[in-house]
Symmetry: C2
Subunit: 328 residues, 2 copies
């Protein structure tokens, strides 16, 4: 018989975390301390018909593994792109980054399949919850996080709480507009920071350069079969490709101006960048703020998240915090 | 002897309100119900040396009149451009719209001169307080107000309270940037909505057209000695001046995009426009939102304030609400 002392019980208390992004569908077992015990990744299917059963299957498989790993799953936390009503556990509306993903009740089917409580929130909001519980946002009253992945998401903590807004559309930071014209965005508008600075936007520009035979420079290792990504653009810029460099500069400027807008609207004391491009963007964003923001916010701290999986950890944090609360 | 019943005492309870704008310095006696009993206007002096004594003189004159008018002044509320620390009653920093107006303690000299409690806040924040107490914001949990005067100010009410931010720089809505380039702004940056859509920006464009002899059109009444203002631009556009029309369209687009950014960051349930250009901007802003915003916020209500003096009334509301509170 395994030890039943209270420390051990607390240690084994865990969450099932689901992250639905523009590219991948991820499920993880996350323990109370914020460690990812096991992780499962699949490409996010393009249709609702395929996506929903895959989510349920991945969750069920993870539940079996959790049992073997001696992790007691308290509930399921779901992070997803799109506007989410967290009270109902429903995705209200998504951009075309995740297709067929509007008016989707996630709580009912997952809760029915696993017989567990389910919490759902927007991916950027989850990233903010992760920073608040495990990252640079610990104990910080007002902060903002901007997460750059396929798209750009964000979350705002005001007086230690998430800002959801009157129609659950607050902190849609990827769709801050920084140009009256500007490139087309996944949301149908144009000039949004997601259309300049997301992984998808940089990939679009990398492909464009590649098609015009302007991407590859001397010393750059690139296989013919390789899919062109943002990484190629960054690599090319480092090796002296001035056009790649100009594109990245514009992306960083757009992101910096977008974040300046956040400072002039909610004036947080800290900005946390996360996602694969975070460390790349940190210095230029700080520079743009010093150039474009009002004096009173020019010295704001912009830091890079040290969390490997903010959206997943935030999804888990809803379970770990709310499932163990006595009152709601 | 005048009646001393409680209704009469409540009726005579009044506030002295001061509004320090980019053009004028205004003082008013405002009664409990929000009526402006008497108002005093002077051009706002360009230097601190002249401005401070004028404020004190206007306040003292108003106090004498208040006495004759049987208005019992409970305190002084000050609305000013710039970032304000309302706890200290200090203007921290202003743009060049109000020169020599940084690190200015307003509470101490006014309180010393009048022997009354003094409250100070940013003009846009005061406008929001006015809407909350007397205007369209009554009982609304989350709303935003944008006030267009010489510059552009704003205030954000979240969970029935003003958002001040970590360095009192929240709701600096005039400095939301909507262009990576764009016209120079009073803040030193460029592409801010204030640089496109404020009275000052429209006046700049009207003067430019006038200098190029492109402003006046047939049927337009314009005296030689008249100073050129935004009103001329609007008048010219109405009479078929296509260049004036294009400038106004761009101004409205910039304002609409800036407000769309507010919706994607704090997602209020209501946007209130005030200032002389409010009714002009209301319809195009609503249209730009329907074109550029995410689906979930496209149907937000944009209304025009019915308050004649939002900043003054908001300054008064701080006195009327806080001076009669038992606890702080
Ligand atoms: Ca968000
Ligand atoms: Ca303000
Ligand atoms: Zn967008
Ligand atoms: Zn500005």
């Amino acid at each position: 018989c395994i030890s039943q002392d209270i420390d051990h019980i607390l240690e084994t208390q865990s969450a099932l975390a689901v992250d639905l992004g523009g590219t991948n569908l991820r499920v993880a077992i996350v323990c109370m301390k914020g460690n990812v015990v096991k992780k499962y990744i699949q490409p996010n299917p393009k249709t609702f018909q395929e996506r929903m059963p895959l989510i349920l299957k991945m969750c069920k498989d993870a539940m079996q593994d959790a049992n073997c790993l001696n992790c007691r799953i308290l509930g399921v936390g779901v992070s997803t792109g799109g506007r989410v009503n967290p009270q109902e556990g429903v995705v209200l509306h998504s951009t075309k980054l995740i297709q067929e993903w509007s008016s989707v009740d996630l709580r009912t089917p997952i809760s029915d399949a696993l017989q567990l409580p389910v919490w759902v929130d927007n991916d950027g909001n989850c990233a903010a919850l992760a920073e608040k519980k495990f990252g640079h946002g610990k104990g910080v009253e007002n902060f903002v996080t901007v997460i750059t992945g396929t798209g750009i998401g964000g979350g705002i903590i005001h007086h230690h709480e998430l800002v959801h807004g009157s129609t659950f559309c607050a902190a849609e930071l990827g769709h801050i507009i920084v140009s009256l014209e500007g490139p087309e965005c996944s949301c149908g508008s144009h000039g949004c920071i997601e259309a300049y600075a997301s992984g998808m936007a940089l990939q679009r520009e990398a492909k464009r350069l590649h098609d015009e035979d302007l991407l590859k420079v001397e010393g750059m290792d690139m296989k013919l079969s390789e899919p062109i990504t943002a990484a190629h653009l960054i690599n090319a810029a480092k090796l002296g490709n001035s056009q790649a460099d100009a594109i990245l500069n514009k992306a960083a400027t757009a992101l910096g101006v977008g974040i300046t807008n956040i400072l002039h609207i909610v004036n947080p004391s800290l900005v946390i960048l996360s996602g694969v491009l975070a460390s790349y963007y940190q210095a230029p964003v700080q520079h743009i703020i010093s150039e474009r923001a009002l004096f009173s916010v020019q010295s704001i701290k912009v830091v890079t998240s040290h969390l490997e999986e903010p959206a997943l950890l935030g999804a888990a944090s809803m379970v770990l915090d709310y499932a163990t609360r006595r009152t709601y």
